[in-house]
Amino acid sequence: MTIKICDFLFEPFAEIQNYQNQLALGGKFGATSIFIGTMRDFNDGDDVQAMTLEHYDGMTQKQLAKIVTTAKAQWQLLDCLIVHRVGEIFPNEPIVLVAVWAAHRGEAFDACRYLMEELKANAPFWKLEQLVSNEKRWVSKNSLI
């Protein structure tokens, strides 16, 4: 189970591949469920040119670790990887990656979604958008789904 906070551009597919390669799980996992959140160039009807992701270093890791512990208690997970970007980020760059490995698909799907929803609800990250108009605004809340 690995949680990474990353202040530079990451390649989600390379991250998952590299992580999976070093797992000693060959032949044991039948299901991998993955979610990748990517920065869009629009939000709430406005064109966005850049974004700054602030976080509460330390609390982020603590809250994500709690979420992972709760997921492990609820589903039989073989492993999971969470990567979240911080700092300045541009459209089409990945923001977040959640990947779950399990023997069966139900567990993988459920746990991946749970991790993602809990991350959005509880991990202390904040988005400051820079619109194409150059106006800066804080995203006030996450969508519910």
Binding site: N122, P124, V139
Partner: protein
């Protein structure tokens, strides 16, 4: 002595990200806010954490604690 931390739009509004405060217990999270920001109400939707765990505003603060105030989170 406790450490107060502010994040995101709240940090910008207060124009500072952290400060230290000498306190005399007992004191709740909300008491701490009002001690540090006597002229400002903490908006209903602001979140509060002590030592990096979410707590209600009625939670009692102890010397050595890190008390954080921040707006709804928007990661992911």
């Amino acid at each position: 002595m406790i450490t107060l931390r502010y994040f995101a739009s709240l940090k910008e509004a207060l124009n500072r990200s952290s400060e230290q405060l000498n306190i005399v217990e007992p004191l709740t999270v909300l008491d701490v806010w009002q001690l540090a920001n006597p002229d400002l109400l903490l908006a209903e939707n602001m979140l509060t954490a002590v030592n990096m765990d979410y707590v209600p505003r009625t939670h009692f603060v102890h010397n050595g604690d890190e008390v954080a105030f921040f707006p709804p989170v928007t990661g992911g």
